[in-house]
C-alpha cells in the first residue's frame, strides 16, 4: 500500500466508486427489465430482449466502470481487505429496492436478507483468502 495516489486516484475512493457503480447498475437493470418485461414469452428467459431498454445499456456502462475501478483497487488494497468491504453493497441493494424501486419487502424477506448479510460478513475474509489462492 506504499506510494498510494491521492485525489481521484485514491484507492479507497475508487473502492467507493466501484460499490456505488454496482449498486446503481443493479437498480438500473431491474428498472430496465421491468420496462420491457415479457414474462409470457419463453424467449425472454434468455434476457436478450432486455437490450431494447436504454436503462440496461446505462447499467452495462456502470458494470464496466465498476470493473475497471475494482481492478484499480486490487493493485493497492489486498483482496482479503477490499472484498469484505465491498460486500456493503449487499446492504445497499435491498435498501435501494425499498427506497427507489418501491418494492414491498415482507418481514420474512428482511429476515432472510439479514441472515445472508450476517453469513457473508462472517465468510468474506476467509473467502477472499481462498480466492487469492484459487
Amino acid at each position: 500500500m506504499q506510494n498510494r495516489p491521492s485525489g481521484f486516484g485514491n484507492p479507497w475512493l475508487q473502492l467507493g466508486v466501484s460499490v456505488v457503480c454496482v449498486f446503481g447498475s443493479e437498480l438500473l437493470l431491474k428498472r430496465g427489465a421491468t420496462e420491457i418485461a415479457a414474462p409470457d414469452d419463453a424467449f425472454s428467459w434468455t434476457g436478450i430482449n432486455g437490450l431494447a431498454s436504454p436503462l440496461v445499456w446505462w447499467a452495462i456502462v456502470l458494470i464496466i466502470a465498476s470493473f475497471l475501478s475494482w481492478l484499480y483497487v486490487l493493485r493497492y488494497i489486498p483482496l482479503s481487505l477490499a472484498y469484505p468491504l465491498s460486500r456493503v453493497v449487499d446492504i445497499l441493494v435491498p435498501l435501494g429496492c425499498w427506497i427507489f424501486l418501491g418494492e414491498l419487502i415482507s418481514t420474512l424477506r428482511w429476515c432472510g436478507i439479514a441472515l445472508v448479510v450476517f453469513g457473508l460478513a462472517l465468510v468474506a475474509k476467509p473467502i477472499a483468502k481462498m480466492e487469492e489462492r484459487l
Binding site: 418485461a37 428467459w45 436478450i48 418494492e103 432472510g112 445472508v116 453469513g119 465468510v123 481462498m130
Partner: protein, 114 residues
C-alpha cells in the same frame, strides 16, 4: 418460484463464479508468459462468454422477480467458491466458513419462501 427459475439462478451464478476463476488463472498466466498466446486469449474469451451468459440470464430473471428477492441468491456464490476451494485446493473448511455458509443458506431459504 418454479424449478425452472431456480435452475436459471443456479446456472447464472455458476457461470459467473467459473468465469471469475478462469479469468484469474488467465491473468496470472499473463504475468509471466504475456498476453500474445492462444492459451491466454482462449481463457479470456471463455471467461467473457460465461459472464455474458450469466448477465443475460439475470436480465431474464429480473423481468419476472423483485430485485430484493433475486439479489440475496448471490450469496450462493460464496458457497460455490467454498466447495471449489475444498475440491480444487483440498482446503479444510473452518468453523467460521461453516457457520457463515449455514447462515447464508438459511437466509436464502427464508427469502425464497417470501
Amino acid at each position: 418460484m418454479s424449478f425452472l427459475a431456480f435452475m436459471f439462478i443456479v446456472i447464472s451464478l455458476l457461470a459467473f463464479v467459473t468465469a471469475q476463476l478462469i479469468l484469474k488463472k488467465a491473468m496470472e498466466f499473463s504475468a509471466t508468459k504475456g498476453m500474445r498466446n492462444s492459451y491466454f486469449v482462449s481463457r479470456v474469451a471463455i471467461g467473457v462468454v460465461l459472464m455474458t451468459i450469466s448477465f443475460f440470464l439475470t436480465l431474464g430473471l429480473l423481468q419476472r422477480f423483485d430485485l430484493s428477492y433475486l439479489y440475496p441468491f448471490q450469496g450462493l456464490s460464496v458457497i460455490f467458491i467454498t466447495m471449489l476451494a475444498t475440491v480444487v485446493l483440498k482446503e479444510k473448511i473452518n468453523a467460521r466458513l461453516t457457520i457463515g455458509a449455514l447462515l447464508i443458506t438459511a437466509g436464502i431459504v427464508l427469502v425464497s419462501m417470501s
